[in-house]
């Protein structure tokens, strides 16, 4: 038993950062992500009696964490929305160390707020595939669905998310999304933080339509 506990402890240590990254983005709430991750690890440990460090373990751990998060999201969906400061979103504001390409804090805030409006299933695939860069096949294995389903959920999620984040495209830091192919990229490099007029794809949402605040 002790051996199992040690082995599982190692497993946790090895994967904790990735699992955390999944949980905190899926839930958009550091405190809830912490609880979800802990629940998931306890649950995994209980199921792990036969575990022997094979490669499927990574997928299996991810699945347990994602499911713990989805359970929480569905439970949360049944509750009335909290008004006022969207503190749950604020929890994810701290920038990632060394991530120079990361979006500005305010942009991250708005993206997370928009993501929160998606159904849990769409949210989970966008977190895994778009936010964290897992291959579609890996996301499919984690979620226990086909790659086709992952793709269609991604597509529907992106379509739904787009109008809520389109106004953010001109904002942010160094890393700008590429301009559309037909638009000359003269504006590249001159954009300032918070200046959303640069790309010409502007929505008047600033100050009125920001989701979540």
């Amino acid at each position: 038993m002790d051996g199992d506990a040690d082995a599982f402890g190692l497993l946790f240590t090895r994967h904790k950062d990735r699992l955390w990254a999944v949980a905190v983005r899926t839930l958009g709430d550091a405190e809830e992500a912490a609880d979800a991750l802990q629940d998931a690890m306890i649950s995994a440990f209980r199921q792990a009696s036969g575990f022997r460090g094979d490669s499927a373990v990574t997928t299996w751990l991810h699945r347990i964490v994602v499911n713990a998060c989805l359970d929480r999201l569905r439970r949360r969906a049944a509750r009335p929305a909290v008004t006022g400061l969207d503190e749950r979103v604020m929890d994810v504001l701290a920038p990632v160390p060394g991530a120079d390409a990361s979006a500005s804090t305010e942009t991250s805030l708005d993206v997370m707020a928009a993501l929160r409006t998606l159904p849990p299933d769409q949210r989970a695939v966008l977190v895994l595939v778009d936010m964290l860069g897992y291959p579609v096949a890996d996301a499919a294995a984690v979620l226990g669905i086909s790659t086709g389903t992952v793709k269609s959920r991604c597509a529907r999620g992106r379509a739904r998310l787009l109008p809520k984040v389109a106004h953010l495209y001109g904002r942010g830091t160094r890393a700008q999304p590429p301009d559309p192919p037909r638009v000359p990229s003269a504006a590249q490099g001159t954009q300032e933080l918070g200046n959303q007029a640069a790309t010409g794809r502007v929505s008047p949402a600033e100050g009125g339509g920001d989701p979540g605040l």
């Binding site: 240590t13 405190e31 509750r79 400061l85 604020m90 994810v92 305010e106 890393a175 192919p181 037909r182």
Partner: protein, 327 residues
């Protein structure tokens, strides 16, 4: 192809999910429709935008907490009789968590009813969650603007008076929970209500926190305090402390200028919530407003530090963190 392509079709097109014939139509349409091509380009950019969205790293304290919970689980598993041994393990687990990550664990376990088969798991130890460590504050420095404002926002409806008097009547979890996030200080009073209701789990009691029971206005200060990373918790506690306490609190005074902008800023940051404290001061030497809000958990407060550009339309956020609620 008649009409424009909607974004869901385009998104499916990009994932090669459309039937070949339909895909050809979309391709042809995109070639000559600038509007749809623009939408298509936005969709192409979306994964990049999502990839650049930042999130905090895993707190060290959470690692400790989960490891303690796993240790407890292992102890429970190795026991022969589920019920009795589980109870014993619960104490061990919570104690370990309390030692390692916070003071509340042991009390938590002591107050928690032992359920056979479920006693030793992380549900006990998790309440030792000590909140964000200094790491987050340090990270937040990276985005510090030229100037800043610090706001402490109270999450629910506990008034300043309740916090500063440490009153526990009817809200035992507030006071006892205060220590949960303080690793080194403040042993909470044992309370059967250590675990606050999950936000919104339905009870009207929790909802009613929105009804501010304290003074009608938040404490508006211009204390001149230079709030600092790593000392925010202590400094906010001092600012919230009753006058005449051991720590001399800053003298309340109305904010000198920019009151209108501040009001709009507060509205943006706090929504309908009434902040426990608004201090127009400094953060790491730069002008900042410190806003203290309550959180969904009675055990914690949220501190939001914003810069002078905070207004109705932008937050000018410098940092935000969770601190344990003072007793």
């Amino acid at each position: 192809m008649r009409g424009h392509v909607d974004s869901e079709t385009l998104a499916a097109f990009r994932e090669e999910l459309l039937p070949r014939r339909k895909a050809r139509q979309v391709t042809a349409h995109l070639a000559h429709c600038e509007q749809c091509a623009g939408l298509d380009a936005q969709l192409a950019d979306l994964p990049g935008l999502l990839a650049r969205t930042s999130a905090p790293p895993m707190p060290d304290a959470l690692t400790t907490r989960i490891q303690a919970a796993l240790t407890a689980e292992a102890a429970a598993r190795s026991a022969l009789t589920p019920a009795g041994a589980a109870a014993e393990a619960a104490g061990t687990a919570a104690g370990a968590a309390g030692t390692a990550a916070g003071a509340a664990g042991a009390v938590d376990a002591g107050a928690a009813p032992t359920r056979p088969g479920d006693a030793a798991d992380g549900h006990r130890a998790r309440r030792a969650w000590p909140g964000p460590g200094p790491g987050r504050s340090r990270l937040a420095l990276r985005i510090a603007a030229a100037a800043a404002a610090i706001v402490v926002i109270g999450g629910g409806g506990y008034g300043v008076s309740r916090l500063v008097t440490g009153g526990t009547t009817g809200q035992a979890s507030t006071a006892s929970g205060a220590a949960a996030a303080a690793p080194e200080a403040r042993r909470p009073a044992a309370s059967p209500e250590m675990r606050p209701a999950e936000p919104g789990t339905g009870s009207s009691g929790n909802r009613s926190r929105a009804n501010f029971a304290g003074p009608s206005e938040p404490a508006m200060l211009s204390s001149g305090t230079n709030y600092q990373t790593g000392q925010l918790k202590t400094q906010v506690e001092a600012a919230l402390a009753p006058a005449g306490g051991t720590e001399p609190g800053p003298k309340p005074s109305p904010p000198v200028n920019g009151a209108t902008a501040l009001t709009s800023c507060l509205k943006r940051v706090a929504g309908n919530q009434r902040p426990l404290l608004v201090d127009t001061a400094h953060y790491n030497g730069r002008p900042a407003t410190i806003i203290v809000l309550t959180t969904a958990s009675a055990k914690t407060l949220r501190v939001v530090v914003v810069g002078p550009r905070c207004s109705a339309t932008q937050t000018d956020l410098i940092t935000t963190t969770i601190i344990p609620a003072p007793r």
